[in-house]
């Protein structure tokens, strides 16, 4: 579709034009319309009612110029039709809405589907569409809209409905309070960098005058003047931007842990004190230019590091915002939406097929099958009927049911599980990064070297002893060393995020680079986590007949057939009938087809079929068997189950080759776990089935008690506590919210190949870190050597110190830790 589509081109086409067979373009989104669906007598045609509604809404509010914007989103405006009632609830308000100073309400909404300039235009015109909205602002990178409105005249649900009509589904954003904190922190750091940079440049100018004066013989009064200017300029750099290193070093001292800030603070303090004394006494070298650049460079490194980490955790936050936040409760004879947090025991929930239960309870009406894989890891759906318990977080697959709420919120099983997750996350000991481990050795070596230099020089040239010792302290300031790890990690985290791998902390990258124990969950991690057709024995001509029948059914097994063969069938079925717990029958293409449980199909068949019997016997015990009879003759049987991911075995082989010990923990029955384990070449002792979430946690704790490093990979709430307890927790694509929130790494692309990509990326990152450290140590040896020999002038120091940092920055930037996005796509 051309992007320059204007209103005029969508005029009615005459009958003669019809010969061209071009479908008219939708007046809103510009996509081709199905010509028979649109009314040719109308002035404008639309591809769907959503587009038509948006068009008339914009026109009636005088916002028709939207259609003149150079860049428009070419996507039909599909409204979800949700009522957003829960947005008006008091609990929702207390969670997400804040009051502004001028009496308005303010909230942040995460919008799905915003991506270009026209989206910014449209969202920010909402105040013109709805009176009562004071301000709407969209941050396109984060897809976050900030809305301010008068809660007295306009409910938030109406704003959400309007955005929905425009084609942007709104979700509450959960990170509001933390976001404000981050924002001030971010702004302050940026301001510090600006100040430090301005000071560094000006001190350098003064230093330039001093260096050239030294060579050409400068008048003493000028020299004294420029030294004083440098000192007075450097002091504020220490007082505000540079203070972070001193506070960092101080807190490291208090907690008796060594941190890169300690050697940095020592070098900065030594340089400042010595420089100030030398300026006042007008003798000896000053190092102000080197120090000012140092502060600037270190702050920039810190800023980049912060940004990289936030980018990853932000993306994870967006995924959380998509989780359902509301439930429908039955109130007399009407059903209304309330936020999940407002559910109370005694209420009756209405849960449609395909929705999650928001609380624990018992079924009071209807029967369905539910998928409890999230909680138990059991991949096969379980049938529930009146009186059966259901648990929050599990999925209702088949039919709408009503549930009497028994435990909600904090009391529900899932909440208790999450509490456990939080506790295990808190117990986790912080990881000391390689650079910080080096900091201790570094401080010791430099201090000893400085003392030795002073003592030895004192014997030969007492007047140079102090200057050289201090020069040593300054020039060995571990600037490059402090940047080495964070920069490499920041670049890696950024590149990984581009590849759909969200890494929340640098420690995970460092820990994953060394092979250790890898514990994998089965359902959803090694397998697809969905029922699909795995085995088929019988003639191929039967398949279209079965397909036609299954297309019309909502049963989870039917969904398995559809997943294998597609959603639309060539043939169509008539008189199809569903027998609960048994199967389906109907007429397809003139033949009578019956698909269902072997017992039921066999009982209705004319003759027993030995071949099919054998095939049924040979079926994998982890699969659900299904038989097919055509005109009352059993002709085929199929096995449906949770298929192993196509890339699982190859990926596991690569990881094992790298030296990882792989273990599979499953919540599924031991028999199912064992067959999957055998296919994936696990050692029989490394496979364990029937594990409750608590068992998984206990297993991880046992491994850690033995001093092993454990990496846990999983997707469900049943893995969440284990993920939180593990040395590194990895959540896979499609996983539960709780699992993702506690994982250190989140893979957003399906399949285990992504895991291999992650591990290989971390190995490369570790190599970059080591190379960076080698660079900075080499520079420090050169600088230290010169200082001990008494050959280090302030000029050499001022060149050497930034040069080492720049080397590290360039080396990190050029490194290929994770493939760049464009490379992967091509």
């Amino acid at each position: 579709m051309s992007t320059s589509l204007q209103l005029g081109t969508t005029e009615v086409r005459s009958g003669a034009d019809a010969a061209m067979r071009t479908a008219p373009a939708c007046a809103h989104c510009g996509l081709a319309t199905a010509s028979e669906a649109s009314d040719h007598t109308a002035e404008h045609v639309f591809c769907c009612s959503g587009c038509e509604m948006v068009y008339s809404m914009l026109q009636s509010h005088g916002l028709g110029q939207y259609y003149a914007l150079p860049q428009r989103r070419e996507r039909p405006a599909r409204s979800s039709g949700r009522s957003y009632e829960e947005f008006d609830h008091a609990t929702f308000a207390s969670l997400y809405i804040r009051e502004t100073a001028d009496g308005l309400s303010r909230t942040e909404l995460y919008l799905e589907g915003v991506h270009c300039a026209s989206c910014v235009w449209l969202v920010e015109r909402v105040p013109l569409l709805l009176s009562g909205v004071a301000r709407a602002e969209l941050n396109i990178r984060r897809s976050l809209a900030t809305v301010e409105w008068d809660a007295g005249t306009l409910p938030l649900s109406q704003i959400a409905r309007t955005l929905d009509t425009l084609g942007y589904q709104a979700h509450p954003f959960r990170g509001v309070s933390r976001d404000a904190l981050r924002q001030t922190e971010n702004r302050r750091l940026l301001a510090r960098i600006g100040v430090a940079g301005a000071i560094a440049i000006n001190v350098m100018l003064a230093a330039l005058a001093l260096y050239s004066g030294e060579r050409n013989g400068m008048d003493d009064s000028y020299q004294r003047f420029f030294r004083w200017v440098s000192l007075l300029l450097t002091l504020p750099a220490f007082a505000w931007p540079g203070r972070v290193f001193f506070t960092g070093a101080l807190s490291a001292f208090r907690t008796r842990s060594l941190h890169m800030d300690v050697p940095i603070a020592i070098a900065l303090a030594a340089g400042l004190v010595r420089g100030a004394v030398n300026t006042i006494t007008n003798s000896g070298p000053v190092y102000f230019d080197g120090l000012a650049i140092l502060i600037f460079a270190l702050l920039v490194g810190r800023f980049l590091q912060l940004r990289g980490q936030r980018l990853a955790s932000d993306s994870a936050e967006m995924l959380h915002a998509l989780a359902p936040s509301s439930a429908r409760i039955v109130d007399g004879d009407r059903v209304r939406e309330v936020p999940t947090a407002a559910l109370l025991p005694g209420m009756v929930m209405d849960v449609r097929a395909g929705e999650c239960f928001a609380a624990d309870g018992r079924v009071t009406e209807g029967s369905s099958s539910i998928n409890a894989a999230l909680l138990t890891g059991e991949s096969r759906p379980t049938r529930v009927t009146v009186g059966d318990p259901v648990f929050g977080g599990t999925l209702n697959i088949e039919a709408p049911i009503r549930v009497f709420v028994e435990a909600a919120g904090e009391e529900s099983r899932i909440a208790r599980l999450l509490q456990q997750v939080e506790e295990s996350a808190q117990r986790r000991a912080p990881v000391v990064l390689l650079a910080n481990r080096l900091a201790g050795i570094f401080v010791a070596v430099v201090l000893v070297a400085a003392v030795l230099t002073f003592v030895i020089k004192w014997q030969y040239a007492p007047q140079r002893a102090l200057d050289d010792a201090i020069a040593l302290l300054i020039v060995t300031c571990p600037c490059a060393l402090a940047l080495a790890t964070p920069l490499a990690i920041t670049v890696a985290i950024g590149r990984a995020a581009g590849n759909g791998i969200l890494v929340k902390g640098g420690d995970a990258l460092e820990l994953l680079s060394v092979p250790s124990t890898l514990v994998l969950d089965k359902t959803g991690t090694l397998t697809e986590g969905q029922t699909t057709l795995v085995a088929w024995s019988g003639p191929l001509w039967v398949q279209p007949l079965v397909h036609a029948l299954e297309v019309g059914s909502s049963h989870p097994l039917a969904a398995g057939f559809r997943r294998a063969w597609g959603d639309t069938s060539v043939l169509s079925a008539t008189q199809s009938q569903h027998f609960a717990g048994n199967g389906l029958e109907g007429m397809v293409d003139g033949t009578f087809v019956r698909v269902g449980a072997p017992r039921w199909v066999m009982a209705h068949a004319h003759t027993p079929h030995a071949e099919i019997d054998v095939a049924l016997q040979g079926l994998d015990p982890s699969l659900t068997p299904v038989c097919v009879a055509v005109d009352n003759e059993v002709v085929a049987c199929a096995g449906l189950g949770d298929a192993i991911r196509a890339d699982a075995l190859a990926s596991l082989r690569i990881l094992r080759h790298k030296g990882w010990r792989t273990i599979m923990l499953s919540g599924d029955s031991p028999a199912v776990a064992a067959t999957v384990g055998k296919t994936l070449e696990f050692e029989p002792s490394a496979v364990s089935g029937g594990n409750a979430p608590e068992d998984k946690l206990a297993f991880i704790e046992r491994c850690k008690a033995r001093g092993e490093r454990v990496v846990m990979v999983g997707d469900g709430v049943n893995d969440a506590s284990a993920i939180a307890a593990a040395t590194v927790g990895i959540g896979v694509h499609g996983g539960a919210e709780a699992c993702l929130a506690n994982a250190d790494v989140h893979l957003t692309r399906p399949g285990l190949a992504t895991l291999v990509e992650l591990i290989e990326g971390t190995e490369r990152t570790a190599r970059v870190i080591k190379r960076n450290i080698a660079f900075s140590v080499a520079y420090n040896l050169i600088g230290g050597g010169l200082a001990i020999a008494g050959m280090l002038t302030p000029l050499i120091a001022a060149v050497l110190m930034p040069a080492s940092s720049i080397t590290v920055v360039v080396a990190s930037w050029m490194s290929r830790t994770f493939p760049q996005q464009s490379e992967r796509q091509s």
Binding site: Q59, A117, V120, Q183, R187, N202, Y222
Partner: protein, 51 residues
Amino acid sequence: MSVVFVVLPLALLFVGAGVWAFVRATLSGQYDDLDTPALRMLHDDDGEIKK
């Protein structure tokens, strides 16, 4: 007395003014969102009703 002693502090005053402006702009949130304003300025002034 050389002119440097006068001009240099004067130049530093200008630097100080620039730094002050930068800090103020940063702390008031001008650098929070660097993507959306670039798109926003592409739009013409609105408010007029076009039929």
